[in-house]
Structure formats: structure tokens, C-alpha cells
Symmetry: C2
Subunit: 352 residues, 2 copies
Amino acid sequence: MANNTLDLNDRSLQLLKTLVERYISDGQPVGSRSLSKDSALNLSPATIRNVMADLEDLGLVHSPHTSAGRIPTSSGYRLFVDSLLTVKPLDNQELSRLHHNLSAKDDDNQMIGVASRLLAEITQMAGIVTLPRRELTCLRHIEFLPLSHQRVLVIFVTNEQEVHNKVIYSEKNLSASELQQAGAYLNSIYCGQSLDAVRSAVLKELQVDQERMNQAMLDAIKMAQLAFETDDNKDDYVLTGETNLMGFSELSGRNHLKQIFDAFSQKQDIIHLLDQSMKADGVQIFIGEESGYQVFEQCSLVTSSYSVNNEVVGVLGVIGPTRMAYEKIIPFVDVTAKLLGAALNPKTTTPS
Amino acid sequence: MANNTLDLNDRSLQLLKTLVERYISDGQPVGSRSLSKDSALNLSPATIRNVMADLEDLGLVHSPHTSAGRIPTSSGYRLFVDSLLTVKPLDNQELSRLHHNLSAKDDDNQMIGVASRLLAEITQMAGIVTLPRRELTCLRHIEFLPLSHQRVLVIFVTNEQEVHNKVIYSEKNLSASELQQAGAYLNSIYCGQSLDAVRSAVLKELQVDQERMNQAMLDAIKMAQLAFETDDNKDDYVLTGETNLMGFSELSGRNHLKQIFDAFSQKQDIIHLLDQSMKADGVQIFIGEESGYQVFEQCSLVTSSYSVNNEVVGVLGVIGPTRMAYEKIIPFVDVTAKLLGAALNPKTTTPS
DNA sequence: GCTAGCACTCTACTTAATGGAGTGCTAATT
DNA sequence: AATTAGCACTCCATTAAGTAGAGTGCTAGC
């Protein structure tokens, strides 16, 4: 497969390009006649048919039945986006809309929602944005409240204003005021450090320094360990515009839509897919079966990771039918990711 | 319309009943021949046709075209559920499944999700549960953290362990320690009171007693007022099994499903519908256009409010096509509401 | 190596024909 | 007066057949 490009001369590539473009805009199998007119090559339909036969042998295009035109296969799309695509610059109107809506706001979570909605509305497909990872976020405040049966409600704030809470089971019964002291103690030591740092510091304390701590300190550390040991909500996303997918005839095969929507609500497969994009930076594209999930064999996913302070913290993207306007979607997703990253940049807290 | 029942003799009602039952189980328009066999009345098809004509005049049934059988109209279903329905007791297996899954758990929010999923899975339709209203919940802890530009992050805990947070804009710049004091002060006075009570107490303080308070107290009260003035997340719900609706042919008219799903993600219409059920207690049913929303003219909504401590705090229910097995759904929704209410009952906090 | 031409294939659409289900009406029956 | 049998009629669903159009593959000639 890697030598596809080598096997093909410029003319074939040119024809493949126009074919894909034509199919993306029309949604109909493209025949030799229309290709002959569309391409600037001045070739007769018969010649084009020969080329098409070659492309079909290479698995780049495919014919739904004997007397229909050709449509691109996943490999065809892949070759197209990798080597043939002419990206279109972003529409000015859309660009200003992005800028306007993705300027730093109070609430980060709110902004994630805005980004997702923008992705969906502008592309008329489904928009998806993962919540920013909180490993690289810093601890701002922590607090414990007693519940019944040695359960403790822990509330902690990260960054500017993200509030998390979970219930932990403590080893022994601690009173409200003991818990309060523990909170105060932890705040005094760990405030301002990253969660990762806190996590490892806590572990170290527990392993090494137990002797020189008093009981209260030890309790506090143990609680902290419990509070931060698992990273619960690390994997969630905001998905909008799913219903836009209902408009696409290629996805409307009875079960198809249901399966896609089921995948959306189960979340885990999607998460897994998005995770793959975390590693790469820049735009990533999964075309059809490339995603590895049968449900999405008719879909493409265009993603980009987004970064705060030069560290990748999340992924956003767009899900739609394989037949999508890649030349517009790709730069659009790219820009959106950059703007979101910038908008999420920790604001400098002006001390009052 | 109110005198429908009066206009009809037992025989007509009996026939309507069998017609609805038959249509619910088959999904096909019911003709006079099959009705004649189904009903125990031993009437000839011809007679039944006459009765049908009467029912049609009354708007209880309707014929899709001249030579088809009859299907119930919304009014027909309404009469059916109001006066003709023989409710079926709950399946034992389902009942024990409910009991097993809806016993008191740690996390109330988690339980809401479980309830929603149960509703969806057992009925094979969409399940919906509103989050419990927090008016009648009591304040457990409140805390303020400074943000930039006079913005303050307020975190408060209600009941056992529900954590809420929002950003408010304070009148003047307050330091972290001032904010902490304000929190401590408010905790000392208002802890354990209901949010409603706190809200009105705060208002009263502001109107009446300003002179005898010192500045710090006044600041604290003002913050509390801001924190509680609006009731933001009061309206939200957990919806599951939406995709089950994709299976029903009566909803599959192209745009139809899309509109329904759009309504689901906009939430507000649904909320409004559910709100109506808050007032009544016991099971409520909206059939087709009765909901008042065109989108749901092919759907029915069976709801029940659920109560904690004898106070209605939320609504749950099931959304499906008008053609649903009311005789099973109704008792099922009823029981689920009761079990959820019971499971949410505030646990007695054992002081450590 | 390219192209014109032709036979062939397959789809999509229209039209017609057929059978079945069910109705409404009327006249006969109880 | 209520019920029923019978009949003509309507409408749908399905099948079959025919047609036009689009597009291909192949071959022979340029």
C-alpha cells in the first residue's frame, strides 16, 4: 500500500483528485464522461476508463455495480488527503465567528461546550471536544467533609476554578474538625503544585518519612493519597450536533445510525479513538475503517489535539460521513484547536 | 369530548378496548373481521363496522385510508387508559431487578442514572429522570475562593454530599482570608437550614438589620445572597436509551427522529413537559399531541413524580411511541418512582 | 498510447396487472 | 329496532414488464 503513489503517474493522481472532489461535492458515483470534462486533461472518456480500471486494481476506487461510475475507497480518500488535497483557507466569516466565541471566558467547561457547538454548527456534522486532562493542572484548594460510616466527601479545586468532588473511605473515623485540620494542612503544603507532583510527593511521604510525622499529618497524607489515587473523570467529552448525522443518506441504513448513537452514549470506544490523537499533535484523520471500529466504517473523524502552555491537554474534532469536505474541515479543526488552547490558557491571577 | 364515555354503551367500549389492545400488540390497523373474532361479543363483522363508524364519528378511532382497518386516535388512547385499561401487575423478575438496583447507594446522582437506565432497558424505550430539586435540601457547608477581578468561586454542599459551585461577582475586592471568614460565619449560622430558608433569612437580614451588623458580617450576607439568588442547575435530567426509539417505524419518518433528538438535546421543552408532572402526584400520561409539542405527536410520555420525605422532588418517566403497552408501562413507572424516592431518602448521619 | 464505437449491464423509473383486505351501503332477517 | 348477509367498491401492496439513461469493457483503428 505504501507504494501506491509510486505506481501512479501524475495523470492518474490528477484524475483521482478530481474524482474525489467531484464525489465529495455530488455524492454520486463519478463516470468517465464527467471526469473527462472536469479534469483539465482533455482526455477521452475511454482513456479515463482505462485509468479507472488501474485505480480500481490498486484499490483506490470502487464501483457499486457494473454500470455505475466510481467512488473512492478509504485508501482512495487516504491518498487524497495525504498527497492530493488542496486545503482551502478558512472562510472569513467563520474565522471571525470562531475568534469571537473562543476568546477567554470565565468558565472553562463552558468554553468546551462552545467549541463543540461551533464545530458542529459550522461543519453541519457532529462536534466533539474532550475535557482537558487535569494531570498538568495545579491544586488550588482541598477540603474534607465527614459523611456516615467513615466515608469522607473530598472537594478540591484545581487551576482557577475547576471544582471536583468524590467520596473516599477513610481508615478510621475522623471528626469534622480533624478533617478540617487535615485540609488546612494539605492546603498549606501542596497548594499551587501540580496534581502529578502532589500525587508523587504524597506517595513518597508515605513510604519514607512516616516516623517524623505526627498522627494528624499522617492522616492527612493518607486522605490525600486516597483522594488523588484514581483519576476518575479524566475521560469525558462534550458531543454536540449528533443529530446532524441523521441527514446523511450514507449513514441511514437502518441499524447504522442506531449503532453510531449507541457508540456515542457508551463513550468508551470514542474515548479510545480520541486518545490516539492525543499523542500526535496537529490534525489527525481517521477514514472509514481506519478507526478500527466497524461502526464507523462509513464515517471519518478529523481531530486535533489542543494544548495549554505547550502541553497537550485534550482533543477535539468532527465526526461525519467519509464523504466530507476535507479541504475545509481540516484547516477548520486545526484553527479551532489552536484557538481553544489559547482561550484556555491559565489567566494570570491579578492579586487583589 | 368529556361526554364520550356517556355516549357509548358497554359494547362499544368493549370493542374499543379490544381494538386498542390489538393495535398495540400488532401495530396494524384492525379490521372488523379480526375484531369480531378477538372480542368475546359474538358479533358479525358488519355490526362491528357500524360501531366503528360511530367511534370514528366520535374521534376515537381513525382509518388511514378507505379500505384499511381502524387505529386509535389520541382521544381513543386517552379513553382507553382512563377507563378501559386493565393494568398488569409487574413481572416478578423485573420487580426484583428494580429492587436490587434501586436500593440506597452512596451517590444520589449515580442512582438517578441507574433509574434512568432501568426505565430504558426494561421498557425498551427512552428513560428519563430529572435531578432532584434542591429547594428542599439543606445547606451543609459553604466556602468562597477568590478569583481575579472581584469574581469569587463559591462552593457549597447540600444534603449529604451534593457539591455545587458557581462564580459570583462581588461588590468589592475581598482577600482570601476575608472570604474564608465569611464562609465560616455563614456556616455557623445557616448550616442545617434548607436553602429556601437561608434564602429568605438572608433577604430579611439585608432589608432589616443592616445597622447592627459589622462590615464583615454584612459582606458575608451579601455574598450568600449572590450565591443563592438564582437556582441555576435546577433543571436538568438524565436521559438514556434514546436510541431505542430508532427501532420504531412510526417514528422513522425522516425528519421525525431528528426533531425528537433535537428536542432531547435542547432540553427545555422536555423540562417544561416534565414540570407539569411535578404538580400532580401519581402517574401522568401525555398521549400524542396532548403534550402540546408537535414533535411528540407520535409519542407518549408516561411520567410519575418521585418524592423524598413526602415531598415531590423530581419526575421520572418513559418516552415512546403512542402505541406502547400502557398496561405494563404505567405500573412500572409508578413502582420505579416509588423505589427511587425511597432509595434517595436522606440517610441518618451517624456522628462519629 | 489514445480514442471512437459498439455491445452489454445494471439501475431507476414508469406503467399495468393482480390479489387481498376492508369498508359502506342496502336489503333481508330476527 | 337491532343485527346480519351480501355485494360493489376502494385502496394498498406486490409483482411483472418495459423503457430510458448512464456507464462500463473491449476491440479495432488512428
